[in-house]
């Protein structure tokens, strides 16, 4: 199915928003959205990694054998994140200090590995790059929104400028993060009227390890996997 270039890009913003619809990358989302600027910084860094990792993996998709594709993806992604980390530390030390441990943690951000597996391994480099950009934008947008809400309610400030004198501290910690997260998921569900992502029937054929799974095909089709 030939997807139109623009739709690939906008896909990641609402319809298949990686955080609110695909529910990937929840960990860094909750951790870095204590303030708007941190969420924004994390989103931009992750987008950079996403675009290039998708591009690289798409370029290498015919070279990487199916059996070792997960380790190969991980080596590429980890290498990419480490390079980004070194560059950010050298040229943007303030962002580096703000992101702290979450910069190297982009390696295990499910969105990156998820899109490599779901999209980049099956599509052209240009499409993959666009998908990476779209997903990254959706991620950044979500992080920015969550960060702004949590910063305003939890610390009473906008971009570090204090505006409210009585913040509700719970929004600065995990429980409050989950509350905001849940509300945003509900909001997206409402906007897309529950049709955001086609609910697929998950059968053996869709399983990522289908090619190396030991179960017999017959048992699989009977649903006894």
């Amino acid at each position: 199915m030939k997807k139109n270039k623009l739709s690939i890009l906008t896909n990641g913003i609402i319809k298949e928003n990686p955080v609110l619809v695909l529910v990937l990358g929840t960990c860094p989302t909750l951790a870095t959205t204590t303030s708007a600027i941190n969420g924004l910084g994390m989103g931009v860094a992750a987008t950079a990694v996403l675009v290039f990792s998708n591009l690289l993996i798409s370029l290498l998709k015919s070279v990487i054998p199916d059996k070792v594709r997960i380790p190969c993806y991980i080596v590429v992604i980890a290498g990419l994140v480490t390079v980004v980390q070194m560059l950010v530390q050298a040229y943007a030390i303030d962002l580096y200090n703000a992101l702290g441990v979450f910069l190297p943690l982009i390696v295990v951000n499910c969105i990156i590995l998820g899109r490599a597996e779901m999209f980049a391994s099956k599509n052209s480099p240009l499409d993959s790059a666009l998908d990476g950009l779209g997903m990254g934008m959706g991620f950044t947008l979500t992080l920015f929104m969550m960060g702004s809400i949590r910063e305003l309610l939890g610390s009473g400030s906008i971009f570090g400028v204090s505006v409210l004198s009585t913040p509700i501290a719970i929004f600065g910690v995990a429980p409050g993060g989950f509350i905001v997260f849940g509300c945003l998921v509900a909001l997206v569900n409402k906007i897309t009227e529950g049709k955001a992502i086609k609910k697929k029937e998950f059968s053996c054929a869709d399983c990522p390890v289908a090619s190396v799974c030991g179960q017999s095909k017959l048992a699989c089709e009977k649903g006894e996997c």
Partner: protein
Amino acid sequence: MSMFKEFAMPPLVLTVIAAVVTGALVATESVTTPIIEQQAAAAADAARAVVLPSADSFTQVTVDEMPEGGVDIYEANNGTGYVVTAQAKGYGGMLKVMVGIDSNGLISGTEVLENNETQGLGSKVSEHAFMDQYIGKDSTLEGIETISGTTISSNAFSKAVQNAYQVYGVAAGVEVAGTQRDPITDEVKAELFPNVTSFQKYAVEGEAYKAGDEGYIVVTSNAGFAGDVTTAIGFDLNGAITGVVFTETSETQDYGEQYTRASWKDAQVGKTSADELDLISGATVTYDALKLNFTEAFEMLPTLADASLEYEGTAEGYNGTMTVAVGIDSTGAITSVRLVDSADDFASKVSDEAFTSQFVGKTSTDGISTISGATVSSTAFIEAVNNALAAQKGA
């Protein structure tokens, strides 16, 4: 698929990809590492300038035996002081602090470099609202107030500053006075020796008392798990423990705290060596501190038999009453003089060694010269010493 394609290709491809990625990492690292190191050095220099504003630039001072908790020390090139980086164990890890010490030995500024303390509580020690009280203080850190709810973190900050002073002392070649601990109260003395009515302080390094004819009290302090553990230990005339009172401890409830219970304290009575102390399992760090306390106390005991006792004398000084503690030996000769309390602006002058050393060995204050420019204060000091001498004669 051929055997080659199915089994040899996959690991081969993975290896090649790994090699290429490694190459890219090495290349990036060689470009960025110099920049990162330069930035770190510039940031450290900038932090030093904030902490010691009067300095122009810094040179590192190598210290052969870095005291405990010291990280590094830099001297200001224009001679206005030193900047020491030191650390102490806090609640969530090491608290690293940069301390600026000016040429008078007073703190010019502090900055926290590494704070892993609890967010919203111990993290506050990094804030200037807390740190500003240190500016202008000397190594005794008198009058420092901790932030409520952050005992361990606040104590760690003070400890780090003290460690910084130790490094400064070694590098600058000066004597650094430790923090003053309040002397033990009469209640503590009475608890250890209920039948003794007169306790006399010994003029020694540390805190020790003569408990009438019954024995001695020695007060020692060492760092435990959550701060200092200070004990007042009572000894009989044969050097055996008669009792223990904890005057300062914040050890963990049900762990180090168990040592403060009567069950443990009573069990140590009669022992003559720190090696005999009972260890409570699960509270080793506190035990180590206690063992040090007892060891130091036992070591001090033999010296007390010949030590001079301290007598206090007061006189009216420049701004108010001046109190002096004089160590006088059994022949009536002065062994030491110490300013205890004074509201005088010239207090530092009368504490000067050139003045105080005049008293040592004398049995009266005849012939002691006053300090020019501080006549009233030094005259008061001499009068106070006279009163102390009189107190000893009458005692």
